[in-house]
């Protein structure tokens, strides 16, 4: 992509750096969060940020396969959020 889009390359690289830093900052809420739902919300936000990182990586490398990777990450994040929110209330997921 660097040869055919010289105007886009620094924007995508800066976006990757920004979103990676934001994902690290969201880890503060995972460690520090006072209650369990705080940690679940922070992990959900990290999952959404990783979806954005995969989409930006598809832009940076020019490989369209990473869009599929971001879709799979979104599905896994949704299922894990449902499972954890069931677990912290009911005590188990499938009874």
């Amino acid at each position: 992509m660097a040869s055919e889009a010289p105007l886009l390359q620094p924007v995508v690289t800066g976006g990757l750096i920004l979103v990676a830093a934001l994902t690290l900052f969201a880890g503060y809420r995972v460690i520090k969060g006072p209650t369990v739902p705080d940690r679940v919300v922070a992990l959900d936000t990290i999952g959404t940020n990783v979806v954005a990182i995969a989409a930006l990586f598809a832009l940076a490398t020019g490989e369209g396969l990473f869009v599929t990777v971001s879709l799979v990450l979104a599905i896994i994040g949704f299922i894990s959020t449902i499972a954890v929110s069931q677990y912290v209330v009911e005590g188990d997921i499938i009874e």
Binding site: L8, A26, V36, D38, D44, V51, A58, V67, A74, I82
Partner: protein, 114 residues
């Protein structure tokens, strides 16, 4: 690819980065689990959708661009569902509200347990 195409993709990436920044600052700075859930559910979802829309503009309406449109629809369906489940489980756990004046609306019927 020409300059206008690149400018549209770059603008969508910048807008998405701004919304992700707002969502993560809200996740770190808000005082309550319900407020944090609000910030991450709205702003982070909108930022990621803007990134995927940039991918759609970059790749065109077939192949990876179509996959990114499916990703946008999936994100807009599942993010409010997940946030609702988290806040409902937090309320069932008894996580208190921030401030004193926030109350649930009164229970209409005592026999309905759920």
């Amino acid at each position: 690819m020409n300059a206008i195409h690149q400018l549209v993709v770059a603008a969508l990436v910048v807008v998405g980065g701004f919304f992700l920044l707002v969502g993560t600052v809200g996740l770190i700075r808000f005082p309550d689990v319900y407020n944090r859930m609000h910030a991450s559910s709205k702003a982070a979802t909108l930022g990621t959708s803007s990134m995927l829309l940039a991918v759609f503009v970059y790749y065109g309406p077939e192949g990876a661009g179509l996959t990114s449109l499916v990703g946008i629809v999936f994100l807009f369906v599942t993010a409010p569902t997940g946030a609702h489940l988290i806040s409902r489980s937090a309320q069932k756990m008894g996580v208190p509200f921030y401030g004193q004046e926030a109350e649930w609306p009164e229970e209409p019927d005592e026999s309905r347990s759920d």
